[in-house]
């Protein structure tokens, strides 16, 4: 069911209100009660955390590959140990 589109005030918000934006008519439930606090600032927090986790994911993957690389280096035939070379 498409919620009715209510007119907004004279700000530019109207730009963002298309038929895609259903104006909520139900009270927030569950996760929404948290996310809508602080004028929806927690939505920004969620987005920043998602990006952070994405970068972390790559960090861990790179770390694992490096560990493998180090193991392969160790497995190479013994060489003359040259400290600081």
């Amino acid at each position: 069911m498409q919620a009715p589109i209510t007119p907004t005030d004279s700000t530019d918000a109207a730009v963002y209100d298309s038929v895609w934006a259903a104006i909520p008519d139900a009270p927030p439930v569950g996760l929404e009660t948290v996310m809508l606090q602080q004028d929806k600032l927690y939505v920004v927090l969620a987005v920043v955390l998602i990006i952070w986790f994405g970068v972390l994911f790559f960090l861990f993957r790179t770390d694992r590959r490096l560990a493998q690389l180090e193991d392969d280096l160790d497995a190479r035939p013994e060489r003359e140990d040259t400290f600081g070379a």
């Binding site: 907004t8 929806k40 969620a46 790559f58």
Partner: protein
């Protein structure tokens, strides 16, 4: 194949420190500086600084990847193949992050009370299609064992994958009713879509995330080339 070594010296290290500092400032500025108050959007408008640059990073990655795919076809070297592959991989990371951040933003801003995580916005759907096209690039790569053949076929496929991106991500969504700005022209330069005080953070955020892409991408290229050198003995 040749595995000439690219040196990453002091300049690289300073750049990465610069990127880390730059992004720290962008994140703080993005959360602290004041923004115009709009209905529905409220403080979530700050997501402009984080969700939108994901797409700029994706575009940057696709361009880098396509350039190295094209260069590979001109003269096949291991490094060009590695660079094309890793650029596409890191670009996909940002594409997936862009998609997920967009879902979360929409779910708790425009779709409160509806429980809709996926709303079939044209841009959202077309992005999902584009990411699947890219995913196929990696499936294709993993299905060919012979390196030269893999490099060549993957490069050709990649050029097609990148070539359709502007149409799927920019041309098509703007012809349809969408939650995203841009139906009326270019959203980045229209007066109503981006307040002047937000440009002060938005543009540095775009630069910062593209730089972050470059950092992760070069790091992975170094890793892959080191692996290849070790495999060569």
């Amino acid at each position: 194949m040749n595995t000439t070594r690219t040196r990453y010296g002091t300049g690289y290290r300073f750049l990465t420190i610069g990127i880390a500092g730059w992004m720290t400032v962008v994140i703080v500025a993005g959360l602290v500086l004041s923004i115009p108050r709009l209905n529905i959007l409220e403080e979530s408008a700050r997501n402009l600084y984080f969700h939108v640059p994901m797409w700029f990073a994706l575009m940057a990655g696709m361009i880098v990847s396509a350039v190295y795919s094209a260069r590979y076809l001109m003269k096949p070297t291991l490094e060009r193949d590695v660079r094309a592959e890793q650029a596409a991989l890191v670009a996909m990371l940002f594409g997936v992050l862009g998609l997920i951040t967009g879902m979360v933003w929409a779910r708790f801003t425009w779709y409160v009370g509806t429980g809709k995580w996926w709303n079939f916005d044209p841009k959202q759907s077309m992005t999902a299609v584009q990411l699947m096209v890219f995913a196929a690039y990696f499936v294709l790569r993993s299905s060919i064992d012979e390196p030269r053949k893999r490099g060549r076929i993957a490069a050709v496929y990649n050029l097609f994958a990148v070539a359709i991106a502007p149409f799927l991500l920019y041309v098509l969504p703007r012809q349809l009713e969408s939650l995203h700005p841009g139906g009326e022209g270019s959203p980045a330069f229209s007066q109503t879509d981006l307040a002047p005080e937000m440009r002060m953070v938005f543009y540095p955020a775009v630069i910062g995330f593209i730089a972050l892409f470059w950092w992760i991408y070069t790091q992975r290229v170094r890793l892959r080339l080191a692996e290849e050198r070790l495999a060569d003995g």
